[in-house]
Amino acid sequence: MSLRQAGETTMAVEIKPAGRRGNIARMATLREAGLIAIILALCIAMSFASPHFLTWGNLRAMMMSFSIEGIVVVGMTILLIVGGIDLSVGSVVCFSMVVSGALFLSGLDPWTASLIGIAASALIGAVMGFFVTVVGLNHFITSLAAMVIVRGMCLVVTKGTPLSLFTLPPEFKALGQGSFRDIPYVILIFVMVVAIFDFLLRRATAFRKVFYTGSNEKAAQYSGIKTSHVKFWVTVLCSTLAGLAGVIYMARFGAATPTFGAGMELNIIAAAVIGGASLNGGSGTIFGAILGMALLSVVTSSLILLDVSVYWQDMIKGCILLAAVSIDHFLHSRKF
């Protein structure tokens, strides 16, 4: 290694100026740039295939379609970084929706009802967090059980039939349907959530602990980090964001369906993984995960515009996931 010339004393090592972006940061930006390139290429190709594709209307619809899920992706990404996973997000989105809806129907004003719905979601996160950190189960099993239990709770609350919420006041519905100068509130909320958490994840001390814990839990403990606290709070955060998404869905649809969100978790985990979150923990970015979400959404939208049968769509999306993860694996194993 040529950092040091022979003959110098041991302690004198030339150090490159600190603060430059290192290998890891470069790898991450490389992946994000790649995703952006693929998304752009797809968009351009699609604009030739279908004149409707690159219209503001279609782009807005596409953004709308992934904005609310995008809020859930944020929480999932952070949870993946800490080394966890949450299969219950789809159920929790629905739970927040039906709890808020039922409370509204029972006479509460919709804002308070929503806050309670979100709090109830956070509570589910706390219960899962308890089982993970105190009882010592893993995230996969705990959230798998929660997925089923919470879905059951949705059915109990609604007695199995959708709640019709057309009486929701317009100023609440605006949350999901209205827009600020042609930009839907949904998209604004989404962008805000992403911006805040992306910033925090990169800069905040509290979130740095998430990376430490996910990278090597034992080493984190040997650094005085209370890893069970970190895991607990991240689990709660993920469920809370799912709850927030549920409330926005309610405002958007003006209804609360007890079967809503089934299978959503797979889409969300796929997006985060395409965007670079590792299932082993320790790495991932929110920006990347959102790009992953955008890619999936562009593909879905293209398939619809191209009139590809619904039966094919899942298969194609699955293949994209496989390809993305394989490329990633290849890039990583090459590093050694």
Binding site: G7, T10, I225
Partner: protein, 513 residues
């Protein structure tokens, strides 16, 4: 030696991105010789071993085995050429049993669909017993790091190989295990097996090896028969300068150590040890010796709150501490350097700067709870410079560093909070001679500034050369304490093992020293 070498490396070059790890090095290994490979941390020793074992591919140059030029594409290819490597970093399946790990290669090659566990355990135990009586049905994850190292060695012994490469096999071992290993290695040599032996312990190299090759900065320096060189020559060639004083001056007898900094009384964890009293006084370095499994690390971890105590009091500078979690200890200024840097010391995938900052993020946190990245980088470059870490920059991942340099980062992490008491478990594990001198000097300097220092070490010369007082632990009890004037290898071994040694063993201990 006129016969053709069994393994020959010609002009081998290896780069990692911009880092030139090896530059046109050569190396020759004859049948039945024990060949030492020496060099500073980051000189490229492990990189060369990894290429011979098929884990890495050279950029340029030739590997010649038995006169045939070969390209070794994978570890399996190396195995079929009769080449085995004991890694510097432990690479065992943590969830499998010791026996399954030992016979991993054989199990992998096995054609039969079912396993004969009875035979597997039986065979594995026989191999294991050559080194240490570790029960082979235990899960590897439940073993201490030094026992894992022994398993790693046992694993290599089962391979039917012509060339055995040992990359710092004794770094985590105590004298007695090391001695067993040497006996085995000599036996292998007798059977005509060639051995490459990497170590930073000069005494071992001189008692065990036939020839020595030295690398510096990724370049080949020299190969000599061991009789033709002295330890000083070797060090000079490795480091490129003279090292005059291996250990810093101790406290003089008239300089009494000051007041007690750390006071531990009646500590017990209910399982591994009981009734432990420790006192560290200002200005002194306290050593802790003992055999592997004696409970040294457990005691240290319990003091720091990493493991739970059932009895005992801890006082820092006279005031009692209530430590329930390691966080409390760190906040009070009490830190512990783990002996297992890969498992619990470092975040391998994360940048060097982030690793060093991990102990106390609070110091680097500005307003609004945001991390001050610039302060983090500055702290890292300051400490890495002080410890002489060779790296591409503080944002490089720790996994790109050589073993010894990783260890320096682990030490830098402990120093980052300006601790009041440091408990170091094998602080110089895998660190080269030159850097070791610097680290010892640093510890002495810290001690004289009033930092309490406890050094747990399996390396007797280190305990004797560095410490003012050595406490020996045997089977979870403090077996005794030796003052500066009573320190000797025999005295420590005697306390550690609790039995009178035979004279031949004492002889051997002297030779090793």
């Amino acid at each position: 030696m006129t016969e053709a070498p069994i393994l020959e490396i010609r002009n081998l070059t290896k780069t990692f991105g911009p880092v030139l790890a090896l530059s046109e090095v050569k190396f020759e290994l004859f049948r039945g010789e024990i060949h030492a490979l020496c060099g500073e941390n980051g000189a490229g020793k492990s990189t060369l071993m990894n290429m011979i074992a098929g884990l890495l591919q050279p950029d340029d140059g030739e590997i010649v085995v038995d006169g045939q030029r070969v390209s070794i594409a994978s570890p399996a290819a190396a195995q079929s050429l009769g080449i085995a490597l004991v890694h510097q970093e432990i690479a065992l399946c943590q969830d499998a049993t010791v026996a399954e790990n030992i016979y991993m290669a054989a199990i992998n090659r096995r054609r039969m669909p079912l396993m004969n566990y009875q035979k597997l355990y039986c065979d594995a135990q026989r191999v294991m017993d050559l080194l240490a009586p570790i029960p082979v049905r235990t899960r590897v994850a439940d073993l201490s790091i030094s026992n894992q190292q022994l398993v790693e060695i046992a694993k290599a012994l089962t391979l039917d190989c012509k060339v055995l490469m040992l990359d710092e096999p004794t770094a985590a071992l105590t004298e007695s295990e090391a001695r067993r290993l040497f006996a085995i290695v000599r036996g292998l040599k007798q059977r005509g097996i060639s051995i490459v032996y990497i170590s930073h312990r000069m005494a071992e190299i001189f008692s065990l090896c036939d020839r020595i090759t030295i690398f510096r900065d990724g370049r080949y320096v020299a190969t000599d028969p061991i009789e033709a060189v002295s330890p000083d020559d070797v060090v000079r060639k490795m480091v490129g300068r003279e090292i005059t004083q291996l250990y810093p001056d101790k406290l003089l007898p008239q300089e009494k150590p000051g007041r007690a900094i750390l006071c531990v009384e009646g500590l017990a964890d209910g399982k591994r040890f009981a009734d432990v009293d420790i006192e560290v006084r200002e200005g002194e370095i306290l050593g802790v010796g003992g055999l592997i499994g004696a409970g040294r690390s457990e005691i240290a971890q319990t003091i720091c709150g990493i493991r739970a105590a059932v009895a005992g009091t801890i006082a820092l500078n006279g005031s009692p501490l209530n430590i329930r979690h390691y966080r409390d200890a760190v906040d009070a200024g009490l830190v512990y350097l783990s002996e297992d840097r890969k498992g619990s010391g470092l975040f391998l995938d994360m940048p060097i700067a982030a690793n060093i900052a991990a102990l106390d993020l609070g110091r680097l946190t500005g307003r609004l709870g945001l991390l001050d990245r610039r302060a983090e980088a500055q702290q890292a470059s300051c400490l890495t410079r002080r410890l002489g870490v060779r790296m591409a920059g503080v944002e490089a991942a720790v996994s790109t560093l050589s073993g010894g340099n990783q260890q320096k980062v682990a030490i830098a992490k402990q120093l980052s909070i300006s601790p009041k008491v440091i408990i170091m478990d094998e602080p110089t594990r895998g660190i080269d001679v030159g850097a070791k001198v610097e680290i010892h000097r640093l510890l002495r300097q810290l001690a004289s500034q009033g930092v309490g220092i406890i050094v747990i070490s399996s390396e007797l010369p280190e305990l004797i050369g560095l410490c003012d007082r050595v406490m020996v632990v045997r089977e979870g009890k403090i077996a005794g304490e030796l003052g500066a004037d009573e320190l000797s290898e025999e005295a420590i071994i005697l306390l550690a093992s609790g039995v009178q040694q035979t004279s031949t063993q004492q002889e051997e201990a002297k030779n090793v020293a």
